[in-house]
Symmetry: D2
Subunit: 501 residues, 4 copies
């Protein structure tokens, strides 16, 4: 990586990064810190220019003050952190304009041209649209017509939400495609940048032992579980408009599932990997009501922890699900008959995200009598804990040492923090993603056909929930979620693995 | 186990254990301590009698004094250890006689009859023949004709060596079979009682994930490695008569291999397991000189550590191998084409015994370019460390956390001491084996057809080495052994795994 | 084979064959013709002696006349058939005695000694006990005590029935073992000598393509079907004492199943093959009433074809099943969850015996919509027709040639008569089996532990049927048997394959 | 199919088919007969118009006379063939124009408009460009600018050659794409329309038994063999410009290989199938000189059959290969290490095209001693004979019926002509392909990325052969081709299967 960094340093082209919506929370908390971290680690080209673009009036100095507050030198004893931060801030500028004005963008383009001209004859530009989705199109038009580079490439980063359903998503995609090519658009799903999600392809395709097991003959079911231990807490306004399915499941969890289940790609090229992700999404059946459980959190038993409806920013009587569990089915040769269970919820007992691959029972099990009655609890399981406390372990049956023959289920495991140290885990998803945009690596970004395939799976369900005014099952704040989720698992003869540890 | 112990306690039959050769080292260091440990833990029936039988004259008290020295109460704060030891010693008697005299055994039988008559109408007897192999037959005849129980079963324990080759082993077996049934004979291979060897069947047959991988399509080679970090050190007399192949390989390592590679048995019954072990041994080809490397240790470079020939108890000019490496081949549908490498040696760098199952390269490896040039070092490997510090781990390729895509080989692992605590590991092999004899479980004992099949594999090689007066390759005391072992591995396109850690 | 024959010819030992029960039907129709055929084809040693032993008084000439009637020179234009038959008959003698008299056997032994002494110093003897089972033991004692060869081996052939259940079978085995060794006993199951049954091991183990498919992941169920198109027709006396389960299923069909499902043996040695057959039988669960359908034929609709009870030799009101269908389960790693269906019946529509291996549905079937609603009818199937008209075919889905995409199920097939000619099929089971006895090849004979394992599967069912006086379902003579058999198949989600062709 | 035909009949749109190059041989011999056959069988819509377009002056009647000569009523007793032919010819028109003149196409477009206006308000048009490749672009421009339908779709059929190498093929594709969309272009490879090639996907994906075997663990090599028993025979002018590799291998045989080896598609949709074909082509490595053998036929031994250079239309001293054999390698998880051998040649012993899938040896082969020394000849093989005399068979080892155990290799087979009758095989490739164009089914047509991937594999080799002026190995007319092909197979440890039958 150090080597790459030096390499990019030698490059003769300059890079400009424009953060559109520079005064927003995301920009301050995530984007600028990530940019600085990349700069600090040497991933930036020798010359670069950063622009904050927002509606507020501000001069460069005010802007630098603003962002410098979040630019922590993460590693306490980071060498030369101060001087590097100064240099970085020197290259930061601010531009005030209207997001829906091509004129503003043209003006910004002129400023960029001027800056870049001093640095190199070739200039590449990244536009990070940290703005609400309803102005994506305007911004894209602005970039395309007024501010794209004339001497290098221009790339545009957008973040979810990408529509509310198939129709609105397609509309947005089409609008973007009118002014940008697919090549230029980087749709972020920051879950793809999580260490253990990124590791999934390495795990599956660089190790011999998984491929022979990775199919319906050996895997009984797969679970993807996401839970937060806090509710909306006064910030339910945005959330209520989307709900947990659109917020977490249709994008993050489904992406994880796609990578976990896709066929081996021709190569590690982003297009080959995304081809396979699209394929596996297209092999799934749209989710039905039968395969869905929705929930909403209520006060806890003590009455101290609030219900979702207690959140003032949430509309009275909202039916918005804060919890959902669904079963998905992949109708191909590898996965036919294997249920894929996903659940996601807010205000639950724990904060965690994990993947659980549960293997089948041993056929003709010689040890059946020694394994007791809970046969569920004795199948092999591969668990990948995405967060917090990244880890991976394989549950195995083992003889308990000592006289006699007693068997229990133990773990072969790998704790990331123990193995690799805290340090290594500190590179955030945003750093990784912005670096990928700089390097043109689209592996972790969502292609429009992927996005479309993902919406196709959830849209009928989402429409049906809306039309039917489906009542969510209430569950107490801090609990394990609605009981219904267990019945859904039970329908497929399995148990949620997170409840067994 | 506690439950079982109580159960046996209620049993109406009494048990007598006769240690023939009671004054020997093994008896003092291993057998009596194991008997006491079993008693202490409650595995003995309510009534029992122990007899030491040897040529020396001694009375019961002298004998009790002698053995009490090695009866440590292993667990420091063991409850009631003192009182229990007293009770135990009370039940110990001594009998002085000639091993080759039926009359002696008849007399002993009479004493036993008398003791047992006071305790129960049914008496079972175990005879532990802790004597040199040349008097096995005499003792067996003695037991059979003079001392076997008239009211219960009589079982006889023997320990290696069981002959020097096919012919002498068959002769011994035939002689034993003339006075005892196969059912009565318990041939100990204490390696089978090692925790991680005993666990092999559990691992393979109670976990789904191994069986699909456990074959020639996925396993590239298997290694069974035994090394000691000390030489004969003045006790080479016995050893020189056998050599490392007969001492370690033909029995201990081959037994481990048989369990690792056998087909699934019909059930966990000892006979079913031993049927499968015989089958896999019969599917192997006798070892050839081409597939063998032998070595003998010389002084180390400093000259401080002695050579094998420096041992005064070793005949001058002895060609006896203190190291051997061989390749075995199993000609069946599961293993055809997979080399099985074994090596065993004295006076090496480390003391350890381990099993290494090396998996194949990933076909069409997507990550080849990222894995560097040492492709050997990046295949998956299952390592089972039998001793010391029992552990099991699976080597996997993993993305190194952080920016960029760097892959290294990490471990999913299970350390027994960490997982189960020191305590659990303390039950010795002898305890386990004697308990099995008490319970009639023959799983860990060698059946005569197994023994015969094992000798058939090694006898041509052993004869050839003798006839050819094959010169061992010299290696320094404390080294990794002869270089030749690497060339043997290389012939099969693999590397010894222990050299890579 | 021709070579072998010459080889045996050179052998210096002579062979004597004694057919005990020489005046019976089986002897006349099968045994003597088979002996002559083997002689004619050159499989006999240069010198040999044949003795018929029965109670009737007869001299050698009368005996020769009797058997010569069935010694057809099978091949019309057989060269030298006449002269060879004369030579053969010359070597045939008759001995009249009592089966339960050791004295008779001793006398016969003396005659044999005399005959053989003129021919060679080494004489081997085969005793074919073509007598009712209640005198097996007497004859075996006779052979053992009075007539076994003093200069070579003595072998004894017996034919079913071998008892009526576990207990009676063990009793018989024990009695035989008291006077003969396992090595000397050849228990015939002539089904094992059928060409396509004998071919099963070749098919499975010399072709790569079967082993990967031969397991629970790919095989949905296996059917073994036996049907006769005639009833007892006045010979029901013997049959009624046994019933179809004992007569056909517990021996012939179960033997076929064992060979079809056993694990690969270590080698083709008879003991290795029989070891595996025993193993697979031991892995089966005893058959339950739930998994059983029994039937008895009644008059057909026209009233012309008789019911079983119309047979005068059948006891009034007999509940003896003339039809049975059962489901078996093999509880091992290969077959767990696969139902094995067997059915056997008399007075059915057709005469045939076949094996049908039905494969699973294609997972994620791309062609589902094109395959119509009868998904049962479109799975792959391997059919082996044992009799009549030996054949083997594999049912495949194929595109119907022409425009459009229409799929039907066609066959890849092999008709033995077309491929190999009528001639090659003419060697009868008895020839093959007697030749095997001569050559000491026990592959096609039932070992006592096999026999015992087979009875263990059926004995509880048979006892239960007896005790419960279970009523068989009536089915018309000439029909497809009781409807109940379909419900049994349906319980396992499959269909009988023979009804679909 | 009948049903589909009626369906199309009901459709309200009319169809026009323009054969550009109507006076050429292909048009007369293949295209018009195929059009008539489709009409006769009811696959045309109720109304349709056919136009011949060529440079020659001709009126409609002359044109109808010309084509009617080849419109045989294929089925002798075809009902109503005469009247139907009259109706068909009535709908045929002729248009004389210049292929490179947009004006000509505009004029034709106007005529079509007029004709169609009388028939329906919606008109779809197919343009069959039966012209040399150097005017493909002109014609496409003509169609696009002057003659495409304003009320329905317009589709354009082109036939090989599609360039001579990657560069020229890309140029052609780019030119076509400037005036047509990928959707409108139908690149014919008539090999894809062969019955047994079309059946490959059915075979692989509607039968359970192939998928488990269809990989490197079980398949040793695959051969695709094409041979003609005649030379260029005075028509070598066109051929010499391309050679056998471009003429047969890079398109027909490689297409067959792609279908045989691709991964299962998401669905049977043309795009999904073509996605998989592209993937497998991209997983292959470009062919090297080491993996290539080229040949050219010389006079036969009698001197009666001419050499390639004897053909007057062939340039003196031409090095053009009339035979080639190559080895291909697919670097993915399924096929890594399996050689794919292709050979194609003119003037060989036989005329045939076949696919041979050779399976591996049986591991730990129990029957090795019985199978003799030619182990190559005893592996299983799936043979698919594409032409002539379509058939499919599976080679198996089987016990030869009779006494003793002799094994030979027999066949499970399916002869199409026997099974389905001659009739069913009569639908020609052109009928099938034109029908697919009418129905918009692109499954059997080559997409531009496929074409490009195919050229990428062969272009380096083709360039190298040209630059090196590589000498072909001479082989006699009517022989089995150059010996070198055997050495190529031998390099991979296999044998050509066609030489063994």
């Amino acid at each position: 990586a150090q080597y790459q960094a030096q390499e990019s340093g030698k490059s003769e082209s300059t890079l400009s990064i424009v953060v559109v919506g520079a005064s927003g929370d995301l920009a301050k908390k995530k984007i600028f810190p990530a940019l600085f971290a990349l700069y600090y680690k040497g991933y930036f080209p020798e010359t670069f220019t950063i622009y904050g673009f927002a509606r507020t009036s501000m001069d460069d100095e005010e802007f630098r003050d603003l962002i410098s507050m979040t630019l922590l030198c993460r590693i306490d004893e980071a060498e030369n952190c101060g001087p590097k931060m100064d240099t970085f801030l020197d290259r930061c500028h601010y531009f005030s304009g209207q997001y829906d004005s091509v004129q503003s963008f043209t003006q910004l383009g002129a400023e960029l041209d001027a800056q870049e001209a001093m640095l190199s004859s070739t200039a590449n530009r990244i536009f990070y649209l940290s703005v609400p989705p309803n102005i994506f199109t305007n911004c894209a038009q602005g970039v395309s017509n007024g501010a794209s580079s004339k001497t290098g490439w221009s790339r545009v980063i957008v973040e979810k939400p990408f529509g509310r359903d198939t129709e609105s998503s397609r509309k947005l995609s089409n609008e973007l495609m009118e002014c940008l090519t697919e090549d230029q658009i980087y749709r972020i799903d920051h879950y793809l940048a999580k260490e253990l999600v990124d590791n999934l392809t390495v795990l599956r395709f660089s190790n011999l032992i998984f491929e022979p097991l990775w199919n319906r003959n050996h895997i009984r079911n797969v679970q993807i579980i996401f839970s937060e231990d806090f509710g909306t807490e006064g910030r339910g306004g945005y959330f209520d408009n989307y709900g947990i399915i659109r917020d977490i499941m249709q994008n993050h969890l489904l992406q994880v599932l796609a990578i976990l289940c896709m066929e081996p790609p021709v190569s590690l090229d982003a297009e080959h990997i995304r081809d396979e992700k699209v394929k596996v999404l297209q092999s799934m059946k749209p989710i039905t009501m039968d395969d869905t459980v929705i929930g909403q959190y209520k006060k806890d038993r003590t009455g101290k922890l609030p219900s979702y409806l207690d959140d003032d920013t949430v509309p009275k009587g909202s039916l918005c699900p804060t919890f959902a569990a669904v079963a998905l089915h992949i109708k191909n040769a590898r996965w036919d008959g294997v249920p894929f269970l996903m659940k996601a919820g807010k205000a639950l007992e724990k904060r965690e995200a994990q993947i659980r691959v549960q293997f089948r029972h041993v056929p003709g099990n010689l040890y059946q009598s020694k394994l007791g009655t809970d046969l569920e609890g004795v199948t092999n399981e591969l668990v990948i804990r995405i967060q917090p406390d990244e880890a991976m372990y394989l549950r195995l049956n083992n003889k308990v040492p000592g006289l006699g023959m007693r068997i229990d289920r133990t773990k072969l495991d790998l704790s990331y923090h123990q193995e690799y140290g805290e340090e290594s885990m500190s590179a955030g998803a945003y750093e990784r993603l912005i670096l990928d945009v700089m390097q043109g690596d689209k592996r972790m970004f969502i292609r429009s056909d992927e996005l479309d395939a993902a919406w196709e799976l959830f849209t009928p369900l989402l429409h049906h929930l809306d039309e039917a005014k489906a009542q969510p099952e209430l569950y107490p704040y801090g609990s394990r979620g609605p009981i219904g989720a267990h019945y859904l698992a039970s329908k497929y003869g399995v148990r949620w693995g997170d409840a067994q540890e």
